[in-house]
Structures are given as C-alpha cells and as structure tokens.
Symmetry: C2
Subunit: 270 residues, 2 copies
C-alpha cells in the first residue's frame, strides 16, 4: 500500500482493532501493512486510545515484550448498557410469550444479533480480567449468545450436547439433575474439547434451578479445567432454592401468584 496520511492510517487501524476485539496485533504488522514507521503507528494508537477513552467506548491496551502488541478491549458506557437492558425488558414484556408449564417464548430475542451482540459485550467485559480461554455452553438456545461472547473474547467455543452424536467422536459424559424439574439428564462433549487448566466461562440463555450450569461445571471438572464464571441472559425467580450461586444474570424474571411475570435488570449488572 502507498504511504498513507495519518487520518487514512487511523481509519484502517481502528477497523482492524474493532473487527478483532481482544486479539493482539503487533506494531510490526501495522507497520508493514501501512508502510509506516513504528513511531508513527505508536502515535496513531495514542490518538485512538485517547478518543476511545473520551467517548467511553473501550480501551486500547498495549502488551509489552517479544510477544507484545496492541488490542482493543470493548467497553460500553453505563448509559448504553442501561438502554440495551431496558430495551430487552420491554421486548420480553411484549407479545404473547407465556407457554403452558411456566415456560416463555424468547427464542426471537436469543437469536437476534440486535440484542445478543450487546449482551455478549457486557458478559465479555465482566469476565475480561479472568483470562478466559474457552467459552462453554449447552445446546441449543444459548449458542448464539455463547458464540458471540467467545468471538468478543477471541477464544473458542465448546458446545455440550444433550444427546450423543456420531459427529462428536469419542465423548466424555456425565449425568446431571435439572434443578427445577428434578429430572435426570445426560450431557456429552468431545473428549478433546477442553484442556487441563483451561479457564472456562459458562454462558447460557436461561437459568431456573441452576442444575444445568452445575452439570456444565462438573463436566469441566472432568477435564481438570477451571470454571472462572457463569453468565446467563435471564434468571427466573422460581424455584427459590438454586443449586448454584454467583451467576452473572443480566435480567431477572419474576412470576407473581397470578402467574403474571415481569422482567427487571439483574443485581449488580450496572
């Protein structure tokens, strides 16, 4: 590429960084790509860092050393987070979502990038400091959110299955007890899916009793991996006796005695 002006270079650097959140890019890579001295790249990055900080849209983090470089760590302002969560509460309260048995139709929200991108950003931001190197979920409805979180954290996703599938080859499986229905289930995952010592973040769509997340934790333990946290979009207030604690739930759904429900922003989310 021909020699570029500062504004041109800044445009392309911002594009690379924003399109690859949490991915380390070396100064040399930028330097070669734009035929510019590392000192110029360094000044460009200072400008971007300052303006991103001022607009509260994330940080440009420099990692020193031989394997060093620079990465974009996304961040949302409290106002933007609040707006997203309120839009979600609104969307969940609209339409005819109640299904028999205390279930709710929310797949339209769980599969819509318009909402899920922002939710995944909030989860990634919360667990950024845990050095996550793998996101784990169970099929099916939580997969879009889990995959988007993995994308923002720049780590692979592991999908646990509820049935043993030929395409998973040799698997590790456990039995687990659903915390809300007291039913026994099985979960399966490819035997090479996790590594010893992996820092695993569990992401799921909805938590009722917590039995599924507890099962996922136990499955991760079978690989001697560390579960560094769990996050869900929606936690239900019933049943009361959850089998796990410390789940980062963005929204809380409350059902009253007349079976009417309301959705609020979770505790300590903002």
């Amino acid at each position: 590429m021909n020699k570029l002006k500062r504004t041109d270079r800044v445009s392309l650097i911002v594009k690379s960084l924003v399109e690859n959140p949490n991915k380390l890019i070396t100064y040399s890579e930028f330097s070669r790509l734009f035929a510019a001295a590392k000192s110029s790249i360094s000044e460009d990055l200072s400008i971007i860092k300052r303006v991103f900080k001022c607009a509260e849209v994330g940080d440009i983090v420099t990692v020193a050393g031989a394997a060093g470089g620079v990465k974009y760590v996304p961040q949302e302002s409290v106002a933007d987070k609040k707006a997203l969560l309120e839009a979600l509460c609104q969307a969940l309260s609209e339409g005819d979502r109640a299904i028999v048995g205390g279930y709710f139709y929310i797949a339209d929200i769980l599969y819509n990038p318009k909402y899920i991108k922002g939710v995944a950003k909030m989860i990634a931001e919360r667990f950024y400091k845990e050095n996550v190197n793998c996101v784990m979920t169970i099929e099916t409805k939580g997969i879009p959110l889990a995959f988007m979180t993995a994308t923002i954290l720049a780590v692979p996703l592991v999908i646990v299955r509820k049935q043993n599938k030929i395409t998973d080859g040799a698997t590790v499986s456990i039995n687990y007890m659903s915390g809300s229905t007291n039913k026994l289930g099985q979960m399966f995952v490819h035997k090479g899916a996790l590594n010893k010592g992996d820092n695993v973040l569990i992401v799921d769509d909805v938590m009722r009793g917590g039995g599924t997340i507890k099962g996922l934790m136990r499955l991760a333990n079978e690989f001697s991996a560390n579960v560094v946290g769990s996050a869900v979009l929606l936690e239900l207030n019933a049943p009361n006796n959850k089998v796990i604690e410390d789940v980062f739930a963005l929204l809380r759904l409350k059902t009253d005695q007349n079976k009417l429900f309301s959705v609020d922003i979770g505790q300590n989310v903002l």
Copy 2:
C-alpha cells in the same frame, strides 16, 4: 461530547460503522453524537470510503432519502479469502478427524470464531445483493456460522429444531428425507418464526445429500417465504446424486476409494 478534531471523529465513525456492518446509520445520528455539521460528517465519510476502497476492505454505501443514511458493507480481498480457505483446508487435514461411518470431527473448527468470522463474511458478501432479511439454520453444529452470518447481514436468525421443544410454543413442522441416509426425519420451528415474503438465506455446516437443506426450503415455503440462497462451509463429494443444486459451498471434501479424504476450495468461491 466536546468538539472533536477530524481524526478523532473519523476514529469514532469507523468504529460505529465497522461494529455494525450492514446497519444504516443516519447522518443526523453522527452529527448529534459528535456535535459536528452534516457537511463535516459527509467529508469524514468520503475519506473513510476512499481509504477502505483503496485497502479493499469494504464499501461505505450511502442510502438517500428520508430513511437514508450510511452503512458499512464488509468485503475481503481475494488474497485474504484465499488465505482463510487455505488455512481451513490445512486445519481440516490435520489430526485424527475420521470417525466410523464416513463421518468427520470438525466441531472444533465450526465453533472457533477465528475461522467462522471470516467464513460468515464471505457468505454475507456473496448474498449481500439478495436483500436477505432472515438467516435460517437447523440445530446444532451450523448455528455459530449461521448466527455470525446473520450478525454481519444485520438480520435475525431462525433456528429450526429436530425435536419439538416446549420453549418453541406452537410450531410448524415437516417431515423430510435425509438425502444421504434415506432416513425420515422431522423439523420444527416456532409458528411465528418467519413472515410471508421474507427473503431467507439458509446456512448450514456440512452438506452430504442435500436432504436437510431441501427440508429447510420446504419449511420456509410453508410460511410463503422466499429462499434466496443456501450456503455451507463444507460439501461432501459423496453421495453423487444431490437432491438440490446451487449451494454455495466454500470447501469440498473428497473421499477416495481407500477412504482417504482431501479438502479443496469450492468451485467459483474465489
């Protein structure tokens, strides 16, 4: 926000556009956000358009009229596409992927954002002109790719299920015949998942005989939606008699008589 310099404004505009591909953002929104005249925003956008074009990393498209605005349409250079597809061929040829019955373990690739982001970009680019307003897939392994494609096209995803689930509420279902195994299956989707006249893009992970994609097409037809295209990451050469044509397959997997396989880049992909 205080009055910004051109470079600062360009940084933030690039960030908004790149983080929201194919989403229309109005000049007024930028103008208000950065306390700048629309004429300044217009000049900023011209700079970005020129530099993106020059670097072959996408287009800035202006839509005129009352509902008008500007959007970023991602595009990759042929060299970048080729590099990604070659990396995928390499990754698929490594390790012990063969499973009994002619199946292959590829979940690690299908769930890894490192590969899937680029593949989704290529699919989105190919179908950009079809005015897709919904991406459709069937659980489970194709969901990450389908969701990422939906994200890049800024449209919702619909996930079809192989079993009827209570959380889907009232469903529309069809029977379908697997093109490769000659087995009858059922697929289910929420009855409000698609609308009449929707332009649907089908995205899946692997195609053998094509029976599943044909089933998805028939299911879309039940809603009087238009299927504007189908895309898969990997098409298998066996069986020979596919039940559908015109699938955009990024990679082709060939098995020889000794059951050894090789992976090539699909026809007309580059």
